[in-house]
Each structure stands twice: as structure tokens, then as C-alpha cells.
Amino acid sequence: MKRSIPLLQTRSILAMFTVMVMISGSFAAPPAPTDVVAEDLPSDGGGAAIVTWTIPTGVDGLEGFQVWRTEAESETVSRVGNERGAALLAIQNQAYENEYQRLVNVEGVAPEDASMQARAVARRAVIDQRESVTPTETGPHGQFWVLVDTVSAETDRLQVGKLSPSNEYRFMVYTVAKTADGGVAKSNASAQTGMVLPVASGIDVKRLPLFFILALLCGAVLFFIHWARSGHPITIRKIAGLAAVDEAVGRATEMGRPILYIPGIQDMDDLQTVAGITVLGRVAKTAAEYDARIEVPTSRSLVMSAARETVHSSYLGAGRTDAYNPDLIYYVTDEQFGYTAYCSGLIVREKPAACFYMGCFFAESLILAETGNSVGAIQIAGTAMPSQLPFFVAACDYTLIGEEFFAASAYLSGEPDQLGSLKGQDMGKIIVGAVLIIGCLVATAAVVTGSESLMHAVDWFKDSVLSA
């Protein structure tokens, strides 16, 4: 099995190592960078700083620069802990080995006894020498340093990320150059920078594009809601599934069989249930006009009250309050499969001519659709559950797919808020379409013509605007 030494330890060992290299090779050392300055990165989310320096002139075989930073507090604690641990462990092992050898070779104690006695002595040694363990020597400027990154020779700045916004840091830079004999030499350490606190700034500039896009989309929705509220008509395309409602209800009347309406198995806090209840209003109104019987078993008591309210007002609207029977809208059980078993039993018993499944469905979708199919009912479904749509599409005569379902609900409710936000979302889709077409065409043009600037434009748009 391959294990690595913990990262921190590696780094501090590296730090010591580089210090040693520096001393031994100092006779040929290139000059260190000057004017090393570190600043907090402005307009960011915190945790980043920018280090700049002046590239020393006239360095032969300049390879690049190494940027180092001071340790954060937690790193110091863990490094000290690790170093102490290693030192004490070494003391313990040494003491154990000495005592064991002495016991076995000099005193002739049996090995199993010797190891036990030696262990006790070793542990005593640790306790005794605990205070004598001192921290290891430090790097330049009397500090411990952590290597951040190595950059190429032309670079005179580095953005340092992954810092802790609550810690202050100093930085220093080494010049790295090739020596005449092909080796690599490092300069003396540059002066260390002042303390930098990589705080979060007032606004994260990188995320501004996201903010503007969000504002644009929200603005479109709000604008159209306002538009609709102030009485402007908002048209919505015909939704084919709704036309089928009349046909289904008509057939139920012809056959003298009831209509079954299932508003999903979620509570009223689910948008799909709300949409389902809105569509129920329309179905009930048609049923009232045709004088067909409509039955609505629900899986939640709140849904039952909402459904009763809606159906009642539909009958009222059709002028058939006398025909309204609240007992046909009732609560069954919250249990998913209990409810499903009840509904499929009902379908088999009553053989409805039309079944509507409008709302949020899970695995029960296919059980219901199958049972409905087996009694030869016309089935119309509407849901936004992507995993259940295939089953409804395959087993039902008509399916309102995802957003179409919400659009139908908005259309039927006629509420300006719903219609307005639907329109606002349509604007969003226009933006998507436009951006996609233009983006793809420009990208294609960039590839075909090989134009650098076009390519940069596309990359900038993708990297800065589309991924904040």
C-alpha cells in the first residue's frame, strides 16, 4: 500500500531543505528579486492575496521564481505537534531498544518479560525528556515558510489562493537560475513582505455576471407580472392536452360512467399539486356542464379541502350547484402504496370512462396507468416528475409534459401572476436560444477561420459570464 507523508510535514521538511541548499550554494547565487510586495486581492471572496516583485536584471539562465508564505496559526500548531511527536517517538524507540538489549544480553531476562520491562522504561524516558524537546530551527527572517508555487521567468506576480481570511501572512520570493555546470541555484531569500490579511471585500466581482443575469431573469418575470396585472392580455399557445379533456368528459357522459381524478400524492406545498387542483377546476366545470360524475380520492387531507373548494366553485360557475356532491371528493390515506391500492381497486370496480392523473407522482404512476388502461379508460396525465413521465407517455392517451402542465394551469387559472411569470420565463428561453445560436455560430466561425480574437471572445464569454 502506498501512503504519503502528510502534506504539512513534507512542506516543512522542504523548507529546511531549501534553506540548506541555499547556504551550500550561496557562492554562485543569483540575485534575489527586489520590491517584493504583497496585497490582499481586491474584490474577491476572501482568502486570496497577490504578490508582486521586480525581476532582477542580468541573471544568466533565469529559470523562474519560488514564492513562499508564512504559516497560518493552525499550520504552526500542527507542525509543532508533528515535530514534537516525531522527536518523542524517536526518544521512546531509542530508550526501548537500549533497555531491551541490556535486559536480554546483560541480565539474561526472557524476551517476553524483557519487552514488557523495556516498554515501561521507554515510556518513563518520554516523560522525563518531554521538556528537552525543542522546536527545530527556523527559515529565513526567523520564520517558518511554506512553498506556495514556482512560476516562470517572465512572471512578476502571483495570485495566491486558498489562504485563511482570518490569518495574516507574509511572503518572500527566491530567484531560481541555472548555474554554469547545469545545476540549479537559488538566490538568497528576498526581503519579506508586510503582513497581509486576505479579507473578503465588499463585493465579489467574479460573481457579478451571475448577479446581473439573475436580475435580468427576475426582472423579466416581474415586468410581465406587472404587465399582466395592469390588464394587458397575455396569450398562451393552445395546449393540446386540454382539448382532450372535453373529449374525455364527453365520452364519460356518453358511456354513463364516472370520471376519476387523481391529484398526485403530495401535499399542497408542492407546485404540481397546486397545478393539478387548477386543472381539476376545468375538468369539473366541463363535467358539470355535461352532467358527468367526477370522483376525486386524495392522499392528503389539505388537498381534499382544496379540491372540494375548487370543484364547488366550478359547479357554481356552470350553474349546477345542485349536482355538486362533496362526498365524491375524499381523503384516503397518506400511505403511498395504500393510496395506490385503493385507487386501483376503485378503477377496477367502477370502470371509469376517463382517468386524470395530474400532480406529483412517484412509483405509483405506472400501477395507476396500467390499471386504467386495463379497463379501457381514456387517460390524461400531467406531471413534472421526469422519472415518471415515460410511463405516463407510454400508457396514457395524452400527457402534459413538465412545464406544459404548469402552463396549462396558468392558462386555466387566468391569474396575472401565473401568466406573467410564464411569459417572463419564455423571455428567458428566448435569451437561451439567442445565446446558443450566436455562441455556436461564433465558435464555429472561430474554428473555421482560425481567428484568435473570436476564439478569445468565446472563451471569455464561457469562462467569465457563463461560469461565475
Partner: protein
Amino acid sequence: MNRQKLTLLSIVGIFVILLVVRAFSGNGFGRIYVERGEASFVKVELPVLDAPADGDVKSEGVRSTWVDATSDEAVDFAGPESPRVAWRSVTPVSPRVYFEATIADEALQAALSTPFDATINGTDLGTALETWRLALLEKANAEAAGRAEPTVEINWTALHAAGFKRKTAITVNSGGDFEASLGAMLDAARAAGDSDAETTMVVADGKGTVTTTADDLAPAIGLSWSRTIGLWLAVIFTLAIFSFLYKDNPLYKIAESVVVGVSAAYWMVISLWDMIVPNLLGQLFPDFVQGNLLPGLGDGDPNWAYLVPAIFGGLLLMRLAPKGQYLSLWTLAFIVGTTAALRMVAYIEGDFLSQINATIAPLYQEVMNADGTVNGYSSFWASVRQITLVIGVLSCLTYFFFSVEHKGVVGKVARVGIWFLMITFGAAFGFTVMGRIALLAARFEFLFDDWLWLIDPTNQRSVAAAVGCLF
């Protein structure tokens, strides 16, 4: 109850009785074995190796802590007055381990009564016992014939404590079997005046041990009744649910009720111990929680900001109260507001923008060969893919565009969109079917493997027992 039903029921009944009888005779099936032991702990003062000089460490560089009573630390540092705690521990083992232990036990017993003819003259006790041990092991292995691997051990710690010394020179004429020879050797050691302690050869769990403390070595591997009953209960529940396929019945309804009750309580318990205690109570009453419930929690001061979620939580529970249910809406408002805000940003960033980003790519894709030339064939197909993808996204979006009637060009594009959607749903259909079947396979594996022992994919039982239930 009519006659047909009665016949059916009695056939099922007889079948069940046969199954149970078969399960608990011979190697049987549907059993769970465990190894019982004791977890014992002792509080000791240990030297500190890795903590910084400050902190909650005593100045002498020791830390008071609990360790396993069998660990080196316990042996070195624990005294008779050190606080100790112990409880029973249970580790599940595969039936194979139990079967092999049984075979090994039998082999060891048989080997013990075979003759051991070595003359021990003037060697020390340690060497003599080692010779004896190896000879016994060889015999026992021969008896087990590869179906198990018996082991033989000499518990020197116990013998040492009782006064026996390895270096004691003994002379024994070991006529007779292994058992008698062992007695003779230890008698000789006793005669040398080292000890007068009782010693025994204990055979348990496939292991023979020469020791002075026979009481501690009772067989530890055995049938776990609680888990075996659990397994059968699980089987009954599984079959009860499957019985719904035949028709709705009280057994299914019982199983359904059990799952409702158990899952509600299960979630409640988990959310209490995993979330409310560490994340809420641990913030409000750190000392109490640290002292009684989560001793591993670090020290800290009460964080009174957490009164806010505590109050919101309390308000949520008002829903159960006969009055003031509207107060729970305050909490609901918090939940709805948080979810809405989280989703708004995340969906626009992660779905809306990123998906547009992923779709924007040159319609003409160049695929290079290894030598840097353009591969015309691959480039053609890669371009077709990208063009199809863009057409697909645009046409599906057109279908979901509600401001314009689906007539003329828009209608045609929307029609293409519907085709793409249908293929999408077809794929979803296939994947869903796939998933459902895997779940059923897992349940059947449970019945065939864990219960009936018909198959043995994870080598839990020896081959002989794998199809045992058939015979």
C-alpha cells in the same frame, strides 16, 4: 373457510414446518453465528507524545485516558486500583468459521487421544512443550483433512504468572497419548518446584490452549438467537410484502403498518442523536452535552444564537398543538424562504448558465489523429453529434415555448422537439426498468443467500453447506 382454502393453507403450513425443521437440523440454514467476548477498559495515565506543550495536559507530561484492557498500555500502566469498565461484546462471524471451528475441535479431541511417543530427556520445559505442540498440530491437521485449520497454543503469560519457567529442565518418559504426555511434562515441572498450579488443555473454537485459567476459555463462537430470529423475521416481512402480488391480505397490511411505525421512529431517533444533540444542544448547553452525551465534543461556551433555530423548531411543533397552529407557519416561512433563495441562485448558476455553457461549442469539430492530422471520419461524426445536440436543445426549448402557437415553422420545430423528448423518455424508461430489476435481484439474493443458503457468492459457508438445504 371453504375446503379449497383449507387445503391450500395446510399445504403451506406443512411446507413451512418442513422448512423450519430442516433449518435447525444438521448444518441447516438461516442461522447467524457470532463470537462473544468481553470488551474491557481501564483508565491509565499515559505519557503524551504528540500534543503541544500547552493544552489540557498535566505538567508531568501524562494524560489520563481509557484504554483497552488488553493493550500494551494497560499492561504497563494499569494498577489494581485503576478504574475498570467491561461489557459483553458480540462480533458476527460467517457460518464457515463456526463449521470449521467445530471440525477443528473434533480433530483436536481426536488427536489428543493418539499416542505421542517422544522421549524427553533433560530438555527445558519450553522446548518440550514446543515439540509437543508441533506434533499435536500435525496430528490435528491430519485429522481435519483440510476442511479446517486447528491451532494449538501455549499460554505462556498464564503459565508464567502461575510460576512455571521455560528454562526448567525436565525429564519425562512420555508413554501414552498427547493428553497424558502433557500431564507428565507439567508434573515434571511441578516436581522441579516451580509451581503447583493447575494446568489444563482447553479446546474451543478450533483452538487448543494450554493454560492455567480454564474458566476464561469457554467456546465463544456460537449461534446468536437474537440475530437468527431477526433474520427469520426479516424473511417473514419480505415474503409478507411479496404476498401482496398474489392478493391484498392482512399479512401485507401488518408489514405495511410496521414499516410506517418503524420508519417514523427511526428518522426521529437519528435526527435527534445525529443532528439535534451535537448541532443544537451542543451549542446551547455544551457542558451538559459534553459531560453526559458526547464526551468527545470539545469544550466551548454556549452559543446563544442557536436559540433562534430552537425557537423556530418549537414553533414548528406547535402544529401538533390544539391551538396556535398558525405559529408553525413562521417556521414554514423560514423553510420556504431558505429553500427558495438557495434554489434560485443554484439553479440559475448550476443548471441555467452551466447548461448553456456546455452546449456552446463549434458546430464543426476537428478530431486530430495521433500524428496531428485531421481525422475526417471522426471529425464528421463529432460535428454531427454537436449539431444534433444543438438542434435538439433548441427544438425542445421551442416545444416548451408558450408564447407562440405551434403553427408553420415553429410547429415543425416543436414537432422535432417532441421527437427528441420521446427519445429522452425512452432512455429514462430503459434506465428505470433497469433500476427496478436490480432492486428485486438484491431481495432475491437475500432470500437465497442469507436465508436459504442456496447460493454462497461471498464464501460465507463451506461448499458442502451451500446447497445443503436441498437435501
